[in-house]
């Protein structure tokens, strides 16, 4: 492929995203955590739908998922299922988180944790643990962005330059417009990705089989490689245990940007409307998976599975479609990296540095905006340029860490007896077990290391909570009046025992 058209289409996407992101500010002052962090809680159902959808559909959809389909086959579908479950999570927890934020002024996940357990130290710990997963995710997406630019430019834009180009673009509009930029750009990115995925998927299927459906593709795979149509897949490594525990760990990973998205909604009703329709968006993954399956028999000797869609498109499809694929993939990766970078900066400022340095809310708001620069320059850019490991495994490690904060949420939504020390002990134990069982002895018995971490984490959390001093009753009651108001008597005196309804 010698045409420069795909590169220009891809670069045009960055320019359009920049313009949308910069315009999103709309003349508002952005130095407050409320405005830069959660867009003044102003996002309606359509924006929120596309914000959450585009944020959760990453470069994985255009590169990793087809790569898994190419290398393993149907095991890739675990991601379809867990994304559906994330919508259930948003439907149930989103309205409660929104109400916490609106009533108690939370702008981050960790600030809600610090408030529930009356422990700034616990909030800081949760923030830092979650940052591991968030930064891993942002690095993953940045690598994807840089790789697209490398391919589209025929090698003229090396990985390091692509990383810098994408991060600088995001930094500018993120600094200027904060969460509003993420919302507006994700609307554009979400629509673009959906259209591009189906155009490329149908175009590839038509080119490969002469039909405008996917049936002939799978008939070919069934004849040649039937092992790709069942678990454990073509690689033989996706056992039922790993499938199941990967879905559970991913579902229970309440990633910080998702909380920020929920808190950006105009109302609890907005979140439920958006969440209800959210699974429909994940039809975006289907055509990309199909291209991976086409690659099984049409590109049998690829060195890097993640490149299957790009390789197929460049060899077989018109240059305009190749350019659209570049723009769509870049949209997927940028729309997912920007909320994670934003949430790490927001949380480090609000939950780590503000309590440590005793900063005012105004100073913390200013600091959050500036923090995106060192986070990108000293952490994300060097890691992305180094291109560590397998893309999907990095994501699983990040989610494995993130799921260890689960006890904090159990105490926020389900169990009044959770204590700060219980949560602290659970997180630390789960984190250490997860590190060991992902790096030193990866996934024993085919069970995800993060799931092992949770299995140790949860009993430790319950036992230590039982043995330590409870959180003040008025604080717990304040949270459970939102999380489960039916659990409390309506006019109970402060500090008195909770009246539990036996059920109607």
């Amino acid at each position: 492929m010698t045409s420069l058209l795909p590169l220009w289409i891809t670069l045009s996407y960055i320019v359009i995203a920049m313009l949308i992101g910069l315009a999103a500010r709309g003349g508002r002052a952005m130095n407050s955590l409320e405005e830069w962090g959660v867009a003044g809680r102003s996002m309606g159902p359509v924006t929120l739908y596309l914000l959450i959808a585009a944020g959760s559909v990453s470069a994985y959809t255009f590169m990793g998922a087809p790569g898994w389909a190419y290398a393993k086959g149907v095991p890739v579908l675990y991601v379809v299922i867990y994304l559906g479950y994330l919508a259930l999570v948003a439907w149930y927890f989103g309205p409660k988180v929104w109400a916490f934020g609106a009533k108690f002024g939370h702008v981050t996940q960790a600030s809600a944790i610090a408030d529930r357990y009356q422990s700034p130290a616990l909030g800081a710990l949760a923030s830092l643990v979650m940052s591991v997963g968030s930064i891993a995710y942002a690095v993953l997406q940045t690598i994807g962005s840089a790789y697209i630019l490398l391919v589209m430019s025929g090698g003229a834009i090396p990985v390091w330059a692509g990383v810098l180009l994408v991060l600088v673009a995001i930094a500018i509009y993120l600094y200027v417009s904060g969460q509003r930029a993420i919302g507006k750009t994700n609307v554009f990115q979400g629509i673009l990705m959906f259209a591009v995925a189906w155009i490329i998927g149908l175009g590839a299927a038509h080119h490969a089989t002469g039909e405008w459906s996917f049936a002939a593709v799978f008939a070919e795979v069934q004849q040649r490689n039937p092992e790709f149509l069942v678990l454990p897949g073509g690689g033989g490594d996706m056992s039922f245990a790993f499938w199941t525990t990967s879905i559970i760990v991913s579902m229970l990973s309440f990633m910080p940007p998702v909380w920020t998205q929920w808190m950006s909604a105009t109302s609890a009703r907005t979140i439920r409307r958006s969440a209800t329709l959210l699974p429909t968006y994940y039809l975006v993954i289907l055509p990309m998976i199909v291209v991976g399956f086409i690659g099984i028999y049409s590109l049998p000797n690829l060195e890097r599975a993640d490149t299957v869609v790009l390789e197929y498109a460049m060899a077989n499809l018109p240059v305009v479609l190749v350019g659209l694929l570049g723009a769509g993939t870049l949209a997927a990766s940028m729309s997912s990296s920007e909320p994670f970078i934003h949430s790490v900066a927001l949380s480090w400022s609000k939950d780590v540095l503000q309590p440590a340095l005793k900063l005012s809310d105004g100073k913390a708001g200013q600091l959050a905006r500036w923090l995106i620069v060192p986070i990108m320059a000293f952490i994300i850019a060097p890691l992305a340029i180094a291109e560590p490991g397998n893309l999907v495994m990095i994501l699983l490690i990040g989610l494995g860490f993130a799921s260890q904060v689960l006890p904090a949420f159990i105490g926020m939504f389900f169990w009044t007896g959770a204590t700060a020390k219980g949560v602290f002990a659970g997180i630390v134990t789960g984190f250490l077990v997860t590190v060991a069982l992902i790096t030193l002895w990866p996934h024993p018995l085919g069970i995800h290391g993060g799931f092992w971490g949770l299995m140790i984490n949860l009993p430790v959390f319950v036992i230590v909570s039982r043995l330590t001093a409870p959180v003040p009753a008025d604080v717990v009651e304040r949270f459970f009046r939102i999380a489960a108001p039916w659990q409390l008597s309506s006019h109970k005196a402060e500090g008195s025992p909770v009246a539990v309804h036996p059920g109607k």
Partner: protein, 75 residues
């Protein structure tokens, strides 16, 4: 404050809990084991069709929840 676990307070809440758990169980072992066959349904792999059925069931369950407990309510 006495330590207590949250549970649904009405039949609607219990129904939603059962629906949520059912749809989650439908996507993991052992249920996926029952559809794990190298056959095509409507031209697509059976597990792929099942995965998208589970996905659409997520929307149906949430729609049911909106009907039963309201889009802005808790339960």
């Amino acid at each position: 404050m006495r330590s207590t676990f949250v549970r649904p307070s009405s039949w609607k809440g219990w129904l939603m809990l059962v629906a949520f758990i059912s749809v989650i169980v439908a996507g993991i072992w052992p249920v996926v084991g029952w559809v794990n066959q190298a056959v095509l349904v409507l031209g697509l792999p059976k597990l792929l069709v099942w995965s998208y059925i589970v996905l659409m069931c997520c929307t149906l369950v949430m729609w049911l929840g909106n009907m039963l407990v309201g889009e802005g309510e808790h339960d």
